[in-house]
């Protein structure tokens, strides 16, 4: 028996960054918001005894157990899929604050080029620059349109940072000054400048100084304790939803978070969402929760899975390239670069924070002329100092075995004498990389798991080769005795695919080729909003949080407008020019 509950105005599926932003903005505007969160309640008090690499770094204490639902993966449609069975390969945040609790805090913006990537690529290089099968498309929004919302997210989170020649233009300075520069970062700056680059201290959600945000939330100053990414911050010095947006929403008295509540379906009549069907994971009881508007703010893949399971929107067909739900899957987890061993230098690598580091942006987006480069987009270069976990970090010279006497000797010696200059690549979408429902593997309720079909492209390989060389050059200039260029597997292995995934419910100006408009409102269901990196038509070089936060802030304006005017699409359909 499904128990029907009284209607709420706004319902969010999940209570992470996106759910928290929706909750804060809508409750401040006087609306009632209910967040259904599958995990349990957490406060920063839970993080006080968490400086524990085994529990958090290895056993993924803050992540959702994958007993019931994981994802399945394959490289192409001809292969059988396999489920990722070990949580270490699929660590997705859960509970209050979701993945916003364990994020590192790197808060880059995407570039004007990113938002109009197809138009700008054609404009500068011609149609033929885009290879066959690369399903590049504009985002339906320009940088100037999203800029105020980047500004809003950064002010809410108190982001620390500084500008550089190649970083996107800002309407306001960073809310707090950049983080401290470590000797390793200084070395990177000197080397990069010698090579003619414009290095800068990267934007950080671990704050350089104490800060009060426009909502009156207070964020502390980072202690550089290094238990940061994959950990919750016990000082409230890392901006997370718990100490910011969820706290703001709570103070209004208009927000309820209902825990252990797992949403199975979006209920709808074909035209509008009527609410959701969810189950109390403790008792197994099912509930129908009606809502005026439903906002999907779960993880990228779970947003898409709910749309597919609920049969909303046109399913993507990789053969014809038509349909939208599941389209343009991108996997950003392809960190590479080069490592350097320093025989005559020793660094305090045990100290650091999740977003402490310095970057070079010369080769991102279209910052460099691509006329003679055989790839689209590029990579950010960064030297980060995020702590040095002793179980997993064992730097050794090439050719050293991974265990035994020589391994012990070398890994102890280089533990504080090695640095990595890494790159994160932009990831372009392809016709054959997509999301659908698995045909074999199911969850505890008998519902099919999400299946990812994805592999590297030549574009990825060429960026990799190009960027690894740049990283190696910087390390040499820094004085590394040995430089070890990072490799790239021939095929995507789906290890640690968690987190940085994009696409599946992408945004755009054309309702034929996108699932949501620039307010993240479903073209095919006007009171359903889908917030998250699921909206990214491609993945920029850097971490997704700032962009998904900015898009969600903009979406909340659309939601408020929608509730005020009582319905309709917030953006005209480009293809049909149908009026609101």
């Amino acid at each position: 028996m499904v128990k029907k509950l009284p209607e709420v105005e706004v319902l969010t599926v999940g209570a992470g960054w996106a759910g928290g932003i929706v909750a804060a903005e809508l409750t401040k505007a006087g609306h009632q918001v209910l967040s259904l969160e599958r995990g349990s309640e957490r406060t920063i008090e839970d993080f006080l005894h968490s400086h524990d690499e085994l529990k958090y770094g290895q056993k993924k204490e803050l992540m959702k157990p994958i007993t019931s639902d994981t994802v399945t993966v394959r490289n192409n449609e001809k292969q059988d899929s396999r489920p990722l069975r070990n949580i270490i390969n699929h660590p997705i945040g859960t509970g209050t604050g979701g993945s916003g609790v364990h994020w590192a805090g790197q808060t880059y913006r995407y570039y004007p080029y990113d938002f109009e990537i197809k138009s700008k690529t054609i404009e500068r290089y011609g149609e033929e620059k885009i290879p066959e099968g690369m399903t590049l498309q504009d985002w339906g929004i320009t940088y100037n349109e999203i800029e105020p919302y980047y500004d809003k997210f950064e002010k809410m989170a108190g982001i620390s940072g500084e500008d550089s020649k190649f970083t996107p233009e800002r309407s306001n300075p960073y809310p707090t000054p950049p983080m401290k520069k470590t000797p390793a970062m200084k070395l990177f700056h000197e080397a990069a400048e010698k090579l003619g680059y414009h290095p800068y201290v990267q934007p950080s959600g671990n704050l350089s100084q104490a800060y009060e945000n426009p909502d009156g939330e207070k964020i502390n100053a980072c202690q550089y304790c290094s238990f940061c990414s994959e950990y919750g911050c016990e000082y409230g010095a890392k901006s997370d939803p718990i100490v910011t947006v969820l706290s703001t929403a709570k103070k209004t008295g208009n927000h309820e978070v209902r825990y252990n509540s797992y949403v199975k379906r979006i209920l709808h009549d074909g035209k509008k969402a009527t609410g959701v069907l969810y189950v109390d994971l403790r008792t197994g009881e099912e509930f129908e929760q009606p809502a005026k508007i439903v906002v999907l703010t779960a993880y990228t893949l779970n947003n898409v899975r709910l749309l597919l399971l609920s049969e909303i929107g046109r399913k993507y067909d990789p053969v014809t390239g038509t349909g939208v739900i599941g389209k343009n899957l991108t996997d950003h987890h392809n960190y590479a670069g080069a490592s350097g061993l320093f025989d005559d230098k020793k660094f305090n690598l045990y100290a650091g924070s999740g977003a402490l580091g310095s970057s070079v942006s010369e080769f991102e987006a279209d910052n460099v002329d691509h006329t003679n480069l055989d790839f689209i987009h590029g990579g950010v270069i960064a030297l980060t100092q995020t702590g040095s976990p002793p179980i997993t970090r064992n730097p050794v010279p090439p050719g050293t075995p991974s265990w035994g006497r020589e391994f012990k000797k070398q890994s102890l010696h280089y533990f504080n004498r090695s640095l990595t200059v890494m790159t994160q690549r932009g990831v372009m979408p392809w016709k054959h990389n997509f999301i659908d429902l698995d045909s074999v593997y199911k969850d505890d309720f008998g519902d099919p798991l999400i299946r990812m079909t994805w592999d590297y492209s030549d574009n990825d390989r060429k960026i990799h080769e190009f960027m690894v060389e740049k990283c190696s050059e910087i390390l040499k200039e820094m004085g590394a005795t040995t430089v070890i260029p990072g490799g790239m597997a021939e095929h995507w292995q789906a290890f640690y695919v968690g987190l940085h995934l994009g696409g599946g419910a992408i945004m755009g100006a054309d309702s034929e080729t996108s699932a949501v408009n620039s307010y993240l409102q479903m073209w095919d269901m006007e009171n359903l909003f889908v917030c998250g990196a699921s909206a990214f038509p491609h993945f920029g070089t850097t971490n997704p949080t700032n962009t998904l936060g900015a898009l969600t802030y903009r979406a909340t304006e659309g939601m408020i407008e929608y509730l005020k005017t009582g319905g309709g699409l917030l953006v005209e359909r480009e293809n049909t020019k149908q009026n609101v």
């Binding site: 005894h49 400086h51 007993t67 949580i87 502390n220 202690q223 409230g236 179980i391 265990w403």
Partner: protein, 256 residues
């Protein structure tokens, strides 16, 4: 070479210092005590509570033996045959051997750590996706199953190749046997020998470098060898330091 400043001090007197001083200093530095830069709203919930209670102080000033001496916690929770445990111990020591820089896996308590871990829900893969079919080389065995089978196989292979038990072999032969497992050459049931070896290696590293609360990294000797300070609350004092700062390690027990 690794600096050896503190390596041979077997009994670091962490429990003899005034345990709260560093935390008080930290609180002062961050304005958490004075309330200075940060208002009460965010931090009020835990300010003063876990760091400053009477109970916390009295617990941390007790001598270490009051928590139970090492010998009482060093017994088998997971393994049922002493021979399996001894074989495991010998294998971990080959992976991380004692040398001039300090203890190996046995000296660090890694075998007891592994036994304890396999006895937890993790050893039974309780948070993993376990639904069938297990295709394409995926193993239906639990980590505990894999370790027991692999350890017994170590002895089997040693007997066949070298006519003795694994732990009796000299190091060179032990390395040879482990390499055969690592490369996946050894036939095992429902799991590859490479997967067993990867699990064994990972557990050994954890036993050497995880917080001592889990039974390994005895006396934080693993961290001392890596000059890793453990569970400090703040490094604001060293983050900009041009010199390497060697810090006396602290474990999670220091936060109680």
């Amino acid at each position: 070479m690794v600096d050896k400043g503190t390596r041979n001090e077997k009994n670091i007197p962490v429990n003899q210092e005034v345990p709260d001083s560093s935390r008080r200093k930290f609180l002062r530095n961050t304005g958490m005590v004075t309330g200075g830069v940060v208002g009460g709203a965010v931090l009020g919930g835990f300010l003063g509570n876990p760091f400053k209670t009477e109970k916390a102080e009295s617990t941390t000033t007790k001598p270490v033996e009051a928590h139970g001496s090492a010998s009482h916690t060093e017994a088998m929770q997971f393994f049922t045959r002493k021979e399996d445990f001894d074989t495991l111990a010998a294998a971990t020591e080959v992976i991380f051997p004692e040398d001039e820089s300090g203890p190996g896996a046995i000296g660090l308590g890694a075998p007891y750590y592994i036994d304890k871990q396999l006895a937890t829900p993790w050893g039974r893969n309780i948070d993993d996706y376990r639904k069938r079919p297990f295709a394409d080389g995926a193993t239906p065995l639990t980590r505990g199953d894999i370790m027991i089978q692999g350890i017994r196989k170590l002895n089997e292979v040693s007997q066949v190749k070298h006519k003795d038990k694994f732990k009796q072999l000299d190091e060179e032969k032990q390395i040879e046997v482990l390499q055969a497992f690592e490369s996946g050459e050894v036939e095992m049931t429902l799991v590859s020998s490479a997967e067993f070896f990867a699990t064994l290696r990972q557990l050994t590293m954890e036993g050497c470098f995880a917080d001592p609360v889990y039974g390994g990294n005895k006396n934080m000797e693993g961290w001392k060898m890596k000059e890793f300070p453990g569970a400090y609350m703040s490094y604001a004092d060293v983050i900009e330091s041009e010199e390497f700062v060697l810090k006396e390690p602290k474990s999670l027990s220091d936060h109680m």
